[in-house]
C-alpha cells in the first residue's frame, strides 16, 4: 500500500498521463487504436525532439527561448540551400546553422554572464529576423520530392518521425544518466559554485547546453519542414514556450538540477494526448487553448504549493 502511495506521489505526472489515457480509452473507442496512437506520437514528435535539448538546458538551470527561431531558421536553410548543394549537404548546413546559433547563445550566457532568459529573447529576435530575411517573409516549398518523405513516410507502420524521436530520447537518456557529461550538467544546475569548485568546467558545459538545445531544435526544424514540405520563418513561433511547458509539467524543475528526459516526454505526451482527445471529442480549438492554459495553471500551481508546504 505504502509502495503504491510512494509511486503515485513520485510519479504524479505518469499517473496523470495513464489516467488520461484510460479515461480517453473509455470515452472514445477510437482513441486506443493503433492508428490514433501513432497519430498522437507523430503530433508529439517535433516538440518531443526539441524537448531533448530543452531538458539539458533546464536541468542545467537555464532557459532557451530561442528554439522557435532556431527551428524556423534551420528548416529554411535545409530547403533554400538544397538547389545549390544537394539535399543532404543542405540538411547538414541546417544543423550546422542551428549549432552556431547555440554557440552564440552559449557564449553570451557562459562568457558574458547574461541571464539566459534575456539572451535567448534577444537572439530569438535576431534569428527570426534572419529567417524572415532569407525567406523574404514567405513560406518556401521544397523542390526535392525526396525531402518531404522523411517527415511523412513510415517503416513497418511506424513513421520515421517517431523513430527519430525515440532514438533521440534514448540517446539523451543515456547521456544524462550514464555519462560524466550528463551528471556534470545536473551538478551545474543544482549548484554552480560546487560544480566550479569540483573542477567542472562550467563555461564549457553552459555552452554545450545551448548547443545541444539549438541542435535538437535544428533537427526538429528540418523534420517539421519535411513534414509540411514547406519551411517558413513563423513556423516556430509558439515552440519555445510550448516545449518549456511540456518539460516543466513533466516535473523538470525550472530551478535546475532536477529532472529527466522521461519526465519531459511525459509532459509533452500529456499535451498531445489532450489535444488529440479534444480533437476526437470535437471540441472547438478555441476551447482547447483555454483548457491547455487551465491545465498549465493547475499543474504548476500545485507544484508551487507543494514546494511551499515542504519548506
Amino acid at each position: 500500500m505504502t509502495k503504491v502511495k510512494k509511486i503515485v506521489t513520485e510519479q504524479k505526472t505518469l499517473v496523470f498521463l495513464l489516467l488520461l489515457v484510460i479515461l480517453m480509452g473509455i470515452i472514445s473507442p477510437f482513441f486506443l487504436t493503433g492508428d490514433n496512437i501513432v497519430n498522437v506520437l507523430v503530433q508529439s514528435s517535433i516538440y518531443g525532439i526539441m524537448a531533448c535539448g530543452m531538458t539539458f538546458a533546464i536541468i542545467g538551470g537555464d532557459f532557451d527561448l530561442s528554439v522557435g527561431s532556431t527551428m524556423a531558421l534551420s528548416g529554411l536553410v535545409a530547403i533554400l540551400c538544397e538547389p545549390y548543394v544537394g539535399q543532404v549537404p543542405a540538411m547538414l548546413l541546417a544543423l550546422l546553422t542551428a549549432a552556431a546559433v547555440g554557440l552564440v547563445n552559449g557564449f553570451l550566457v557562459a562568457k558574458c554572464r547574461i541571464s539566459s532568459f534575456i539572451v535567448t529573447i534577444g537572439t530569438s529576435y535576431i534569428f527570426k529576423g534572419i529567417a524572415l530575411k532569407i525567406s523574404n517573409g514567405d513560406p518556401i516549398a521544397s523542390s526535392n520530392p525526396w525531402f518531404g518523405r522523411m517527415g511523412n513516410d513510415k517503416i513497418l507502420g511506424i513513421p520515421y518521425l517517431v523513430i527519430i524521436m525515440v532514438l533521440l530520447v534514448l540517446i539523451t537518456h543515456y547521456v544524462l544518466t550514464a555519462t560524466r557529461f550528463g551528471r556534470n550538467i545536473y551538478t551545474i544546475g543544482g549548484n554552480m559554485e560546487v560544480a566550479h569548485n569540483s573542477g567542472i568546467r562550467t563555461g564549457f558545459y553552459k555552452t554545450s547546453i545551448f548547443v545541444l538545445s539549438a541542435f535538437t531544435a535544428g533537427i526538429a526544424g528540418i523534420l517539421n519542414a519535411s513534414k509540411l514540405n514547406t519551411a517558413s520563418a513563423v513556423q516556430g513561433d509558439n515552440a519555445a514556450l510550448s516545449v518549456i511547458t511540456g518539460v516543466v509539467i513533466g516535473g523538470t524543475s525550472l530551478i535546475g538540477g532536477v529532472g529527466s528526459i522521461g519526465k519531459s516526454m511525459i509532459g509533452i505526451l500529456i499535451f498531445s494526448v489532450i489535444t488529440n482527445a479534444l480533437d476526437l471529442m470535437g471540441v472547438f480549438s478555441y476551447y482547447q487553448t483555454g483548457i491547455r492554459g487551465l491545465m498549465l495553471i493547475v499543474i504548476i500551481g500545485m507544484e508551487a504549493y507543494a514546494r511551499y508546504r515542504e519548506s
Partner: protein, 317 residues
C-alpha cells in the same frame, strides 16, 4: 574622480544609450529631429509604454507577467463591443475593470500557490492561453470594427493643440502617477523590498501577498489602458491584437535597466527603456530598414545593452 565618472556612466547607462540613439538618428536621418517626427515617436510609444509601466510593477516585486498581451486583446474587445451598447465612458470603465480582474486572477493564483519567479512565468503563460481563448470565443475569432464614439476615437488619435496628442497625455499622466506610487509611497517601498527579499519582508510585517496582488492588478489595468488607446487608434479590435506585446514590454523594461531578478528598477527607467525602443524603431523606419532587419537590430541592441550592463557592474563592484 575616475571612479566617480564610472559610477555616473553606470548609473545613467540607459539614458546615455538613449541619447546616443537620438544623436545617431539626428545626424543620419535629416527628418528625425523635427517636432512632427518626435511627436510621432512618443505617440507610437504610448501603448507599449503603458504595458511596460505595468509590467515593471510585477518585475520589481520579483515576478513575471506573460499575460499582458492577451489581457490587452481581451479588454480591447470588451471596450469596443460594450461601446455599442453603452456610452463610451462606461465601456472604458468596464474594460479597465476587466483588466484589473484579469490581473487579480494572476495575482490570486500566484499568491495562493506561493509561486516563485519561474513558476509565475509559467502560470502567467497559462493565463495568457486562457485569456486569449476567452477572447477568441467571445468574438468567434472575428474582428470588431471600431467605435462610433468621437470621444473614444479621440483617445487614440486626437490631439490637444498642435503638438500634444491625447494618447501621449494619457500615457504621461499614468506614468507620472505610477512613478509617484512606485518611488514615493510606502507601497512602492514594500514592493521593492519584496523583490529583494520576500522572506525578510514577510517577517517584517509586510503583507507580501497583498502587495504582489496589487502589482498584478496594476499590470492588468495598464494593459487595459493600452488596449483602449490601441483600439481607438486602429479603429477596431482583433482577437490577436496583443500577441507578442509581453515580450516587447520585457525587452523595454530590461533596456531601461530593470532587473529581472527583482527589487532593482523604477518606473522612470521603464519610461526611458520604452522611449529608447521607440526611437530605435522610428530611426530604422526613417533609414528604410525592413521589418526583418529591425528585428535583428532590436535583438542586437538588447544583448549589447545587457552585456554592457553586466560588464559595467563588474567594473564598479
Amino acid at each position: 574622480m575616475k571612479t566617480n565618472a564610472k559610477k555616473i556612466i553606470y548609473r545613467y547607462s540607459s539614458l546615455i544609450l538613449l541619447f546616443l540613439f537620438i544623436l545617431i538618428a539626428s545626424i543620419f536621418a535629416e527628418n528625425f529631429f523635427t517636432a512632427r517626427n518626435l511627436t510621432n515617436v512618443v505617440r507610437q510609444s504610448c501603448v507599449l509604454g503603458l504595458l511596460t509601466v505595468g509590467m515593471s510593477f510585477v518585475l520589481i516585486c520579483g515576478h513575471m507577467d506573460l499575460s499582458i498581451g492577451s489581457i490587452m486583446t481581451f479588454t480591447g474587445l470588451i471596450a469596443i463591443s460594450f461601446g455599442t451598447r453603452m456610452p463610451a465612458g462606461a465601456a472604458i470603465a468596464c474594460a479597465l475593470l476587466a483588466g484589473i480582474l484579469c490581473g487579480a486572477v494572476n495575482g490570486l493564483i500566484i499568491t495562493l500557490t506561493h509561486a516563485n519567479s519561474g513558476e509565475s512565468l509559467m502560470i502567467t503563460f497559462g493565463t495568457q492561453l486562457l485569456f486569449s481563448a476567452v477572447s477568441l470565443l467571445y468574438t468567434g475569432g472575428f474582428s470588431l470594427s471600431g467605435s462610433e464614439s468621437d470621444f473614444y476615437n479621440a483617445l487614440g488619435t486626437g490631439s490637444i493643440g498642435k503638438w500634444l496628442p491625447v494618447p501621449v497625455l494619457i500615457y504621461i499622466i499614468f506614468a507620472v502617477l505610477l512613478w509617484v506610487l512606485e518611488s514615493k509611497t510606502s507601497f512602492g517601498r514594500q514592493m521593492h523590498m519584496i523583490g529583494f527579499n520576500p522572506v525578510c519582508s514577510h517577517l517584517s510585517g509586510v503583507r507580501t501577498g497583498l502587495v504582489k496582488m496589487v502589482c498584478y492588478c496594476i499590470s492588468g489595468f495598464c494593459a487595459a489602458a493600452g488596449a483602449i488607446i490601441l483600439t481607438s487608434r486602429t479603429l477596431g479590435a482583433t482577437p490577436t491584437a496583443g500577441v507578442g506585446y509581453e515580450m516587447d514590454a520585457i525587452v523595454a523594461a530590461v533596456l531601461g535597466g530593470i532587473s529581472l531578478s527583482g527589487g532593482l528598477g523604477s518606473i522612470a527607467k521603464a519610461f526611458v527603456g520604452v522611449i529608447t525602443l521607440s526611437v530605435l524603431s522610428n530611426a530604422m523606419n526613417l533609414f528604410g530598414f525592413q521589418s526583418f532587419d529591425q528585428s535583428i537590430v532590436k535583438g542586437c541592441v538588447l544583448i549589447a545593452a545587457i552585456a554592457f550592463d553586466v560588464w559595467n557592474r563588474k567594473q564598479t563592484v
